[in-house]
């Protein structure tokens, strides 16, 4: 543990040792973060339910990416590519705002495997009018 003289004044943290510009040009999983950064430190240990992504249904609208309060929706090459489970708190906002029928994100028990979850995915609900996810909260699947 550091003593009071060893801390940087102002309680500032530096995510990169050097060449910050260069690091910022890379995708975050390719960057070399210092331990000051919480990129590799899990801050999600208390999550009870997790969102699971089904790429077969997803239309890559990025509503979930916009609304996630923890920047835990991953994207690559213009496509939603999954969830960052080290930082996702399981709030379910992404599921709520997903507009597809059935939803492309659904909440499952934290211990359930992705495979099991995908096998349980609901079918498209027939006779459901296209409703705005904003006003109706979308279709909840279960």
């Amino acid at each position: 543990m550091k003593n009071w003289q060893e801390f940087e004044a102002g309680a500032v943290l530096f995510p990169f040792e050097k060449q910050g510009q260069e690091e910022l040009g890379k995708h975050n999983n390719e960057r070399t973060y210092t331990t000051n950064s919480s990129f590799t430190a899990s801050v999600a240990n208390w999550r009870v339910e997790k969102p699971v992504h089904n790429k077969e249904v997803c239309i890559n609208c990025f509503n979930c990416w916009v609304y996630c309060p923890d920047a835990s929706i991953l994207s690559r090459e213009g496509k939603m590519s999954g969830i960052d489970y080290e930082h996702c708190k399981g709030c379910g906002v992404c599921v709520d705002v997903c507009p597809t029928n059935p939803k492309s994100l659904l909440m499952f028990d934290n211990l359930e495997s992705e495979q099991e979850a995908l096998a349980k995915w609901p079918q498209k609900a027939e006779g459901l009018k296209k409703k705005s996810y904003r006003t109706e909260g979308g279709y909840n699947g279960f």
Binding site: F7, A9, G10, A11, V12, F14, G20
Partner: protein
């Protein structure tokens, strides 16, 4: 490029004009402000300087004082020289963010035109707002007249930004009594003033993209204590830096300031200790008291934080009776200055432990008259002769109605 402003050798300025010119000359990068009486003319003058081409920096009008200080924190973390001004309720609204600024060690300069705190609503001077910021982790400089407001505002940037300090600084002036009282002020030419303040040196600016930095991290019981200790240490060490700055300033202007200013203290048996404009009023009274044979002196401090604990203990070591004046409601205690001066006197080696008394005065701008001050010197003279209190320890003076006193 901002135009330089033609100034005369002697200008007739009030305290607000003096601080506005000092901010202009320091070439502040960002001023974010929400004007409030009596600090308003600082911002108003600054705004006209900006619109008339005398300022290159950004001037942000925000929706509250909380927002003003928040914008200052953001701009200072980004890496700019930053300043604002406020008073009273506005200061109170800033308080939460004052702690952010000091914790992040952002060298912001805040001019405070001191004013009472409501309720009842009051626009006039007392030191309630100054006292409210006492523990916020800022260095607090006190001034007694518009010349000092100008000089200390320039010096405040140098002190705050010093690489060994990096602590935000408040410059206090008495609302109306200094902020709106026109006096002769001897300013420096623009380029001389700027050269004295110097170019801003950034420490971990957020706009340095090669070294990205996070400000405002959380630190719980494992680390919070260490950061606060480090801040306290930096504040405590800053008085030595201020003394260097005083000396540099004296070389430039001939105006030599000291952390403690004393009047006739060499042989004083009784003394008044007070802040702000009361310093000059007390000098007038002390001169009269001397004519009556009372060996009277006066002491003020330019530094409320860090509190000049040792120096104050020394200056009153041989005094027989000291009146400590508090211009803020103590609300259930002795006045804050009384407590701090008493502690320094109790600790100092070889103290004769003078008789101490506490005068609460001038709340909400109530005039402190020369008659009041004469009476205090009379009280002190009695105390000194008897070697003990001849009246209660704490007295409210200038109050309508029956005497109010304690202990």
């Amino acid at each position: 490029m901002a135009s330089s402003y033609h100034l005369n050798g002697v200008e007739a300025w009030d305290g607000c004009t003096a601080s506005a010119h000092a901010l202009r000359q320091a070439q502040v990068d960002v001023v974010a402000a929400y004007p409030i009486t009596p600090s308003t003319p600082i911002i108003q003058n600054y705004g006209s300087f900006k619109d008339n081409g005398y300022i290159d920096g950004e001037f942000v009008l925000v929706e509250s004082e909380h927002a003003a200080m928040s914008a200052c924190v953001g701009a200072a973390a980004a890496g700019g020289r930053v300043s604002t001004a406020t008073s009273s309720q506005g200061f109170a609204l800033m308080v939460e963010v004052l702690y952010q600024a000091s914790g992040m060690r952002l060298p912001i300069v805040l001019n405070v035109a001191n004013r009472a705190l409501a309720s009842p609503l009051n626009i006039h001077c007392d030191h309630s707002d100054m006292y409210l910021g006492r523990d916020s982790g800022w260095i607090s400089l006190c001034t007694c007249n518009p010349q000092e407001v100008y000089d200390f505002t320039l010096m405040a940037f140098k002190l705050a930004e010093h690489t060994g300090v990096r602590v935000p600084v408040m410059v206090h002036q008495d609302g109306f009594l200094s902020s709106h009282t026109v006096q002769n002020v001897r300013p420096l030419a623009d380029h001389v003033a700027y050269k004295f303040v110097g170019d801003y040196v950034g420490v971990h600016p957020m706009l340095d993209f090669d070294k990205p930095v996070s400000y405002g991290a959380q630190a719980e019981e494992e680390w919070h204590f260490e950061h606060k200790a480090k801040l306290h240490h930096a504040i405590m060490e800053s008085s030595a830096v201020l003394e260097e700055i005083f000396n540099d300033f004296a070389k430039l202007t001939g105006r030599q300031y000291n952390i403690l200013e004393t009047f006739n203290m060499e042989d004083a048996e009784v003394a008044i200790f007070a802040l702000g404009t009361t310093w000059e009023s007390a000098i007038v009274a002390a001169k009269k008291a001397r004519e009556k044979g009372i060996k009277a002196g006066v002491v003020t401090t330019h530094l409320l934080r860090p509190f000049p604990f040792v120096a104050l203990g020394e200056v009153f070591k041989k005094t027989k009776a000291v009146a400590i004046m508090d211009k803020s409601s103590p609300s259930g205690a002795m006045g804050a200055l009384f407590n701090e001066v008493a502690a320094s006197l109790y600790q100092v080696q070889g103290s004769r432990h003078p008789v101490l008394s506490n005068y609460i005065y001038g709340l909400g701008g109530r005039d402190l008259t020369q008659t009041d001050l004469d009476r205090i010197f009379e009280d002190l003279s009695q105390d000194a002769q008897k070697g003990a209190l001849t009246h209660p320890t704490q007295q409210f003076i200038g109050l309508n109605g029956p005497e109010l006193s304690y202990f």
